[in-house]
Symmetry: C2
């Protein structure tokens, strides 16, 4: 196919190829349940099917798109399949995908207010909307001393919280003098690995991370936290940050925010609350209790890219004192100076995270909230929780399976009574079937299956089928089949 001289895709070609891609995606979603959820390829297989070197001459768009079917799809694990129950979801939705498309097409940078005012102002607005929608403390609103910002992930949000806490604990001197090795961070043994990663990145050192034991519901024990903080102080160390989790990754445990928050307040320690997965549940007033005590937190994050139908990346990170965050991360070279910044009347989001550049991520969030409306979002959250509770009930009523932890929302941890080796084989066989995909963890030293109901399109049928497959596969394994 001959290509015109300037190589670019014209607006008219974009119209044509864009429609083909939209149709490709509509077709993909229409047939998504026909694919094995977990990709069935061996290491290197996808790469071996692709051209080993870049083409010298441009290729026809049709040929590239055709390769999506032939060469890429076989290597895809279908996170958007309603039969995806693994990890936590990373769900997308129609309005979100189209918001992302507009973001890519506009291609603006939001590093400064002046580099696209709408990018900054819509982000601040939508993050304020979410304060109301989730019933978050007013101090996280942008019209007070705090504010919200979109980060790529909860890992990056946690790192920013650790950095701001590090600076506050050293009167903003660590940035200048280097990290003080006497700073200590606290989390639970069930806290997400990103806290360990953040502690290492920020130069605090892994040995200054205290993993506090959990109770029989896998929640951080405030009594042991208080004791450890006092012990560290006696030893001349400086308690700096506590990370509490609302919905841990392994089993959705809820750390007791009020008790932890009081300790942090009394001790002058930064409290970061990680609600990456479960924060979204607070859209529904009846689940909002999980955030009781959040008024004592210095920072909070949750991921609309997990359970709020907004595709990755979209983590909402809130701070009560934005000045501390900005002072921690601010740099101002001459080439970024501008009148609006110097007027002090605007927010420049470049000082709120690690990267300098940033895309217009609030567009997709705005599209999702407007398209579903608050009630539409709540409808789906309630439905997912209800389906997970059904599943938990079936497990509890079964004489071969048992619950491995309480299931407060949409994650069910369970196991077959026949032991670790059996559960391992069961998981492998289920995932190899292609009918569904789930993952595992360990709790109390035991191998446990995780079943998370949160994918956008997961409905009653999918959860029933999953339970049917699990029972049937276990039955076959029991019979040595």
């Amino acid at each position: 196919m001959p290509r015109k001289n300037d190589f670019h895709m014209s607006p008219e070609e974009f119209r044509r190829h864009g429609r083909a891609v939209v149709d490709w995606l509509a077709d993909y979603y229409a047939k998504i349940e026909s694919f094995p959820v977990l990709a069935r390829v061996a290491p290197g297989e996808i790469r071996a099917s692709l051209a080993p070197a870049a083409p010298v001459e441009g290729e026809a768009f049709e040929d590239i798109l055709e390769d999506m079917n032939k060469r890429i799809l076989p290597g895809i694990t279908h996170w958007q399949s309603p039969n995806f129950f693994a990890y936590f979801p990373a769900n997308a939705s129609g309005p979100s995908i189209l918001g992302e498309l507009l973001c890519a097409g506009l291609g603006v940078q939001g590093m400064l207010w002046s580099t696209s005012p709408a990018c900054t102002e819509l982000e601040a607005l939508v993050l304020d909307w979410l304060v109301d929608l989730l019933g978050l403390p007013e101090k996280f609103r942008s019209d007070g001393a705090g504010g919200g910002v979109i980060q790529d992930s909860a890992s990056s949000a946690s790192l920013c919280a650790i950095l701001a806490a590090r600076e506050r604990a050293t009167d903003f001197a660590s940035n200048e003098r280097g990290c003080d090795r006497s700073l200590v961070v606290y989390a639970s043994t069930e806290t997400h690995s990103s806290i360990e990663k953040g502690v290492k990145i920020a130069g605090l050192g892994r040995r200054n991370l205290r993993l506090i034991p959990v109770d029989d519901r896998f929640a951080l024990r405030p009594d042991l936290l208080g004791r450890q903080i006092r012990k560290d102080r006696r030893n001349g160390l400086v308690p700096c940050l506590v990370c509490a989790t609302v919905g841990t990754t392994s089993c959705n445990a809820m750390d007791p925010l009020p008790a932890i928050g009081r300790i942090c307040r009394d001790e002058g320690v930064w409290l970061h609350v990680d609600g990456a997965m479960s924060g979204t549940a607070a859209l529904c007033p009846e689940y909002r209790y999980i955030l009781d005590g959040l008024e004592l937190a210095d920072s909070f994050c949750f991921n609309p890219h997990k359970w709020m139908f907004t595709n990755f990346d979209c983590d909402c990170f809130y701070v009560a004192d934005r000045a501390a965050l900005i002072r921690t991360l601010s740099v101002l070279p001459e080439y970024l100076r501008n009148q609006a910044t110097e007027s002090g009347a605007v927010t420049d989001y470049r000082d709120w995270h690690i990267p300098l550049g940033r895309r217009f991520r609030s567009l997709k969030l705005w599209f999702v909230i407007r398209y579903y409306g608050a009630e539409g979002l709540r409808h789906h959250i309630r439905h997912h929780v209800s389906l997970a509770q059904d599943f938990a009930k079936w497990v509890a009523q079964s004489d071969r399976f048992e619950l491995a932890a309480a299931a407060p929302l949409n994650l069910v941890c369970f196991r077959h009574t026949a032991g670790d080796a059996f559960n391992r084989r069961l998981l492998e066989r289920l995932n190899a079937s292609g009918h569904l995909y789930l993952t595992h963890t360990t709790l109390n030293g035991q191998y446990v299956l995780r079943f998370c109901v949160g994918q956008t399109h997961t409905g009653t049928r999918h959860v029933r089928q999953a339970w049917h497959h699990i029972q049937k596969t276990a039955g076959n394994l029991e019979k040595g089949k």
Copy 2:
């Protein structure tokens, strides 16, 4: 407009709304030159035009899209306008936008090989393609000890380089014990602010960052670098990393890699090379000299999201020793364990950067390289350089304007001879005209205008018009108009 009960957008609705968005973008590109390049709104104006609270009921997609015209576009600074000459470009292109759309629609997570093998394998492949296309040292290929990964930005890439260098310099003990305050990082006075940010984040401390003076071409002086390193060693400090830049942000200066590289090799210091903007020029053999000496580097990054028609975010980060990077950033909680990882036969990119989650960003890069072909990409790079060289020639020939620095590629730094205040007024008036957008810097203490030719669709006409506007506006200002 009534909405169905489940609130989701069906595949058929997605097809319809998707076409509307594609058409919206095609129309936007067709008329992009009719908008003022720099947004003309006051702080708060966009937000005030938007609904202050989230809707309770979902809204029609048509209404949301209509607001893009009415409420969002007035607050957009048009980075995709061919009359955008500010900062460095962040350009998009048709194939890139559609690759991003597929990425959003597939919605896969690439944190582990197993969570979507194609996401990992295509990324490794395309980054190997770029080793060939840019003539990078073989050691950056994934089939040796090194490899490449896509990061969101050069800021994050620099931070990862600093972290890996920090660990290597302390025998991988800083992660455990906390950052050693004797570690020193070196850059030039012209190096991008992200190095200072990275040094602070990593806990090394701003006072351990040495900004080495530059020569009369604004390039780092290796003699002064060597002297400073030796002095720091005598004082018991530990030189850890040098950042050299290929194309500085202010004026596109080229640090002398061979001389810097030899010092780093002899001193055992990590050399990171930041080619964020200008690295793309190495697609053309005749500009590849800018990377001479890169074989002495431990890491390198450049941003296809600046000058390679691949929309943000897409920074390509290469390391010569991937084991050092992975050992620095690795965490492995139980819930991420899987057979493929334990086999050692696969790459898990989660250990190559700050976040855990990651999207399928190599798709857009693959689309761009295939659609343009190597020759198509080279055609545009050459054209942009040639246009910038024309502009530099016009400046040099003018009796009112002068060049403020050499213009090796596509960035021209220039000023009117009437002094700083005049140039400041000139910039304000040019940007207020809406006809074009350019930004400023300071060089040798003087206020200087930057004219960067790199936007995807910038052609001869736009550069000629820009020069015409600049001359005319300066003429009016000279006459006191």
